[in-house]
């Protein structure tokens, strides 16, 4: 039986506390001039917009900020900019505001909002990313029962433990989205007051059409349904699996199969709708029909990377001797296959939009391409090229070294993918990687380790009475 050593626990708690402190310090410094130095924004000239006196733009309007090459904003004062820019990305959530009569004030407020959003966005990106690590394995755990898979029986306890990692990120996501209703931040533009009231300065005709779905009440109901449904599935699958150790393995397996079947259907719908709610609604004007699957694929593949790392950690501690290179080979295959699947969906979404070149769609990618070039291309490389080249061959998947390396970079890549999904719509070009982002990652990493390892330590790592446990032990390929 695995023991969660106090040393590891202390380390995990330290990570959580340090992460929280970093985030709070980052929050306090956010928008102040010291922030810029602290966060080391070498190339993204961001915070200076906030400090600079906005009177400077009186005649310049807002066009200067839209200039794609924001790198050269770094030292220059606002006056030096010409009107090179296209208008602010027309599809961006705040376009209507900018076009209002109070053009300049609205723009200044927009800038200030973007800066104020950053701490919340940083926390949100990490929460979504860590939600994926748990949710992917919760779904995979369900699949094992529905598909009557035998090979994975020895791994189920790790998946069960990992599935519980959804709880804390879900709570954080709920809190952040409910804070949006209270206008604490402006990450979700559709939550702004008067967005669907004709004649209101915040009125936005496009969003007003969408308020049937994106209304605070309906959103809250959906968010709570996801939370309750997913956590219920994780709890039930765990409960029956623990009961099987002391009782009838076949009966409990059958029960779990029912739970898993119900959950799979529920998740088929909620994986898409939750992606629309939690991520796609940030860029409220924009939509993509396969966004849900794309988000799911990213979550699924990063959860495999985490599963591989946890399993190898346990093996390194001398546990799970029944898991050998054949099982690791399969996990490597899943990580590889879903990296390719993610790329397929990413590309399907990108190419249709790029090819059709419709203004309201293509702005989504224009902003990412102009302002987020580095993270955008880095994450494509890490999420597609690296897994393909590193774990394509059979021997590479059977050697822990290459798989661990690939898993680590896949995790980094999918964090960046979520970053590129969320940040452009909330902070615009005021992004960076500093105390806030690092703090949020450390915070969730610590909590992830605590949740997963403590639930692993609560039960034996091997199902005693699982009907297919022997098949798993002799699994070979």
């Amino acid at each position: 039986m695995f023991e969660f050593s106090s040393k590891t626990k202390q380390l995990a708690i330290a990570l959580t506390v340090v992460g929280a402190i970093l985030w709070i310090v980052g929050f306090a410094l956010n928008g102040s001039s010291s922030n810029e130095a602290d966060h080391g924004h070498s190339s993204h000239a961001t915070e200076h917009h906030a400090d600079a006196s906005h009177d400077d733009h009186a005649d310049a309007g807002h066009d200067d900020h839209a200039d794609a090459g924001h790198d050269d904003h770094a030292d220059a004062s606002h006056d030096d900019h010409g009107h090179a820019g296209n208008d602010d990305y027309p599809g961006e959530a705040h376009a209507a505001m900018i076009e209002s009569a109070l053009e300049h004030d609205a723009h200044a407020a927009h800038e200030a909002h973007q800066i104020a959003n950053r701490p919340w966005s940083a926390l949100y990106v990490a929460a979504i990313f860590f939600l994926g690590l748990g949710l992917g394995q919760l779904f995979f755990l369900g699949i094992q029962y529905v598909a009557q898979a035998g090979w994975s029986a020895g791994l189920l306890r790790v998946m069960e433990a990992q599935a519980f990692a959804i709880v804390i990120p879900l709570i954080v996501i709920l809190i952040i989205s409910f804070l949006g209703f209270g206008h604490v931040h402006h990450m979700f533009h559709w939550m702004v007051e008067g967005i669907d009231v004709q004649g209101h300065p915040n009125y936005d005709a496009i969003i007003a059409e969408k308020t049937g779905f994106l209304s605070p009440l309906f959103f809250s109901i959906r968010a709570i349904v996801y939370t309750v449904g997913w956590i219920w599935a994780a709890k039930m699958l765990r409960k029956n699996s623990l009961l099987s150790d002391s009782g009838d393995g076949v009966a409990m397996w059958k029960k779990n199969r029912g739970v898993a079947a119900a959950f799979t259907v529920f998740y088929a719908v909620t994986s898409s709708t939750s992606a629309w709610d939690f991520i796609m609604s940030i860029d409220t004007h924009w939509f993509s029909t396969l966004f849900g699957w794309y988000t799911f694929a990213g979550m699924f593949v990063s959860s495999f990377a985490a599963l591989i790392l946890i399993t190898l950690y346990l093996k390194g501690k001398g546990h799970m001797e029944w898991i050998n290179e054949n099982h690791m080979h399969d996990l490597g295959k899943f990580m590889f296959a879903f990296s390719v699947f993610w790329t397929y969906l990413w590309f399907s979404q990108f190419m249709l939009i790029w090819y059709a070149d419709i203004p309201e769609e293509v702005t989504y990618y224009m902003q990412r391409f102009d302002q987020y070039k580095v993270p955008f291309f880095t994450m494509l490389t890490l999420n597609f090229l690296l897994p393909v080249l590193a774990v394509l061959s059979r021997p590479a998947k059977r050697v822990p070294g290459t798989v661990v390396m690939a898993a680590f970079f896949v995790l980094v890549g999918h964090y960046m993918d979520h970053y590129v999904m969320i940040m452009p719509g909330t902070v615009g070009d005021h992004y960076g990687f500093g105390l806030l982002e690092l703090g949020a990652i450390l915070f969730f990493t610590g909590l992830f380790i605590i949740v997963v390892l403590s639930s692993l330590a609560k039960a034996p790592l091997l199902h005693k009475n699982h009907p297919m446990i022997t098949e798993s032990k002799y699994f070979q390929q």
Binding site: F347, F350, M351, W354, Y355, D357, S393, Q476, Q477
Partner: protein, 177 residues
């Protein structure tokens, strides 16, 4: 097919893949040399049990795929950009790379096409399969529901026969070389 040595061959027929697999392991552990197993379907772990070298077909497939990718890149470049520049939907066509996203489906398909086809041809070539090639399996039942094992006879024939019977062989016959 392992017939290069001048040892006579003993053939044993089985009707279960697990039994064959265990028999191969047992025989090889006891110093017999199993030269071939005929089976209607691939048996998991048999290649390792027989001590076969891993196929290099997968490495070849990677390079076949690269050939396909290069061919597709050249094809799209030549037909869409160089020879007769195509303006489809106002997409940029000044040089290949800026129009590359619209060529990705072609590149993907031809990569798969080349890898799959060349792998098949390689497989046929390596195994000597061509139209009109003579069947090499000694017993037609191995294409249905039986498994045939060929063991080289190096010592006592009675001992080997007894061993094979103990391991579950249904029929045992000796092939004089």
């Amino acid at each position: 097919m392992g017939h290069t040595k001048h040892n006579p061959i003993v053939r044993a027929l089985f009707n279960d893949d697990d039994v064959v697999l265990d028999a191969v392991k047992d025989l090889r552990a006891n110093g017999f040399s199993v030269s071939e197993v005929y089976s209607p379907f691939p048996i998991h772990g048999l290649d390792e049990a027989l001590g076969l070298k891993r196929t290099r077909l997968s490495t070849a497939a990677f390079f076949y795929g690269l050939i396909g990718l290069s061919f597709a890149s050249w094809l799209t470049y030549y037909t869409m950009i160089a020879d007769w520049p195509q303006n489809i939907g106002g997409k940029p066509n000044a040089y290949w790379f800026i129009n590359m996203p619209s060529f990705v489906p072609i590149m993907f398909e031809l990569t798969v096409f080349f890898a799959a086809h060349l792998m098949c041809w390689s497989y046929f070539a390596v195994n000597g399969l061509y139209p009109g090639a003579k069947a090499q399996n000694p017993d037609p039942r191995t294409t249905d529901d039986h498994f045939l094992m060929e063991v080289e006879l190096e010592g006592d024939e009675a001992a080997l026969t007894a061993k094979l019977q103990e391991l579950g062989a249904l029929e045992i016959s000796k092939l004089e070389d």
